[in-house]
Amino acid sequence: MQFIAADQTSGPWDLVVIGSGFGSLFFLHSYLERNPTKKVLMLEWGRHNTTDWQLEHNTNSDIAPLSTFSNESPKTWNFNIGLGGGTNCWSGMTPRMHPNDFRLRSLYGRGMDWPISYDDLMEDYDWAERIMLISGPPDMGKMFPGAGNYPQRPHKMSSPDLILKAANPDVFFSAPCAKLSESVPGRSACCSNGSCSLCPMKAKFYGIDNMTFVFDNPAVSICTGARVRHIHAEGDTAKSVVFQSGGREYTVAGDLIVLGANGIHAPFILQQSGILDGEPGAYLGEKMLALVEIYLDGLEHFDGGTSTTAVDLRYVDGPHRAEGGANLYWSENSFQWSGLRLDPPNRFREVLPVAMTVEDELLRDNAVVDTGGDLPKVVHAGFSDYAMKGLDRAVSKVPEVFGALPIEDVQFRRIEPTTDHLQGSLRMGTDPETSVVDPDQHHHRVRNLVVVGTSVFPTTSWANPSLTCAAMSLRLGKRI
């Protein structure tokens, strides 16, 4: 990696990339394949915290997310500030989105349609899965057209999973994930310990370790500790980026500006820049993550080969989405979620933790707000009625979905405070009045400004967003 100090960034640069997470990295991976001589400056607010540093300090970053914004919300928000961004702290789950996720408005009258389709992303889904060495099942094409050609074999399912797979072969699958089932040079196989945000085996895909094509590319210069404050635009052209480092302010010029900060700070940068077209910051949200436990009668769990072994997809789409959010069920093979079963005695493994992700509806009043200070403010009313109805339905369907198991009891445990999936605050669309970027993720008016990352997602879907974010960025890199 070629790190440079702030006072060495004067440029000019062909590209100035703000942030270094999924959006930025996969965009550069694709872009630099076609444009290897372009000069790229990557500005990252955080430090380069190596994976060894992260393990040693039991954290992904030395910057606490909650110290970087004020939160007026009943829920919390999480992200990672540091080189590699969310590729450090993510859990490594990589389902594709369903084709109908892109048509939520036209099919179910909720949210908005995406300006791109599943078909537009198919090729790049496949590419992203190969880059991250996704482990997954060969029959996943039953749910997602073209899926199933995974570079790594699926992880071993647990005993309850195998029963469920036999009973529901078309909707129950081994979970696709970026945690290796077989070691490769530099990455070990998953040890199934369940602490995926700090993977002790480096089995999980980390950008800083596994995207050396980008980080070590001689075209790329990296400046860490550089907090971008605003983008200077003249008319409809972005001219430069202003960042702070070590108490000083620096200005760097670039022909193309790539905004890849997280879903709270990316809109705040546009707000502070006075680039307010399409209401940057509005429609902030994320899906819900909740946990139930299924107490089993005489059947033991936790014998799968990774921390999240399987997924039931029967309710990721359907007419129920008109009333409440779609959901999926994750079979959790880790007792980091809620521990072993302690009562009655000696039935430690007779419990199946099931995590459920539930789609939420993104609402205009849930927003990142610029109050004129140094930090953004998040104003959010919490999960919507749409998500709560989706959760109610998801819980009520547990006996049906898991009916092949010897169920003794089902207990709802909790709604997690955040899924770490910030979405919607710079949404993409065809109408400049209601969206910030166009179908190619270019700002509707400032045409040499593009936005990458999950902030452009116009709906939350039920699916973990990282794979889709990566595929969209690969696609974008080919189109510029």
Binding site: L55, A189, S192, N193, S334, G339
Partner: protein, 148 residues
């Protein structure tokens, strides 16, 4: 799975005399007379699995390891519960906290982490001997996982 015994220099070794004297633990219900979080953790574990016979000092060694590494916010909560336990005892505290998801999650994950660090689940263990604590490994925390 073979686990390495972790030699942990413990302040417990300095406290064990007074703490042991201050802890009156009975099977199925421990009354903790100190507000030392370590004593609370020990009592909570023993009360959760009263039917398991542990080597002397095994639970205490884990509890000290745990308290030394727990994140600050959780440590604060543990200290608050420890004070409550000192005042009214563990059984009544757990009665009050019955149905509290956060406490139940804490209790189960903590007890699980401890048990995984022992030889309790080793199929070849000598059942006649007390259960030994070996240490908490950063990986391999799921001894039931199968990878084939």
């Amino acid at each position: 799975m073979k686990k390495m015994r972790i030699a942990i220099p413990t302040r417990r070794q300095f406290l064990v005399g007074t703490a042991a004297a201050g802890t009156a633990a009975a099977a199925g219900g421990a009354w903790v007379l100190t507000d030392d979080p370590i004593d609370f953790i020990v009592a909570m574990i023993k009360r959760s699995v009263p039917y398991i016979d542990f080597e002397p000092g095994a639970v205490e060694t884990f509890a000290e390891y745990y308290i030394d590494r727990v994140e600050p916010q959780r440590q604060g909560n543990i200290e608050k519960i420890s004070k409550l336990v000192r005042g009214i005892g563990l059984p009544l505290t757990e009665t009050i906290l019955d149905g509290n998801e956060k406490y139940e999650n804490f209790r189960r994950t903590t007890v699980s982490t401890f048990l995984i660090g022992t030889d309790y689940f080793d199929e070849g263990r000598d059942q006649a001997k007390p259960v030994a604590f070996f240490g908490v490994n950063p990986c391999g925390r799921n001894p039931f996982a199968q990878f084939a």
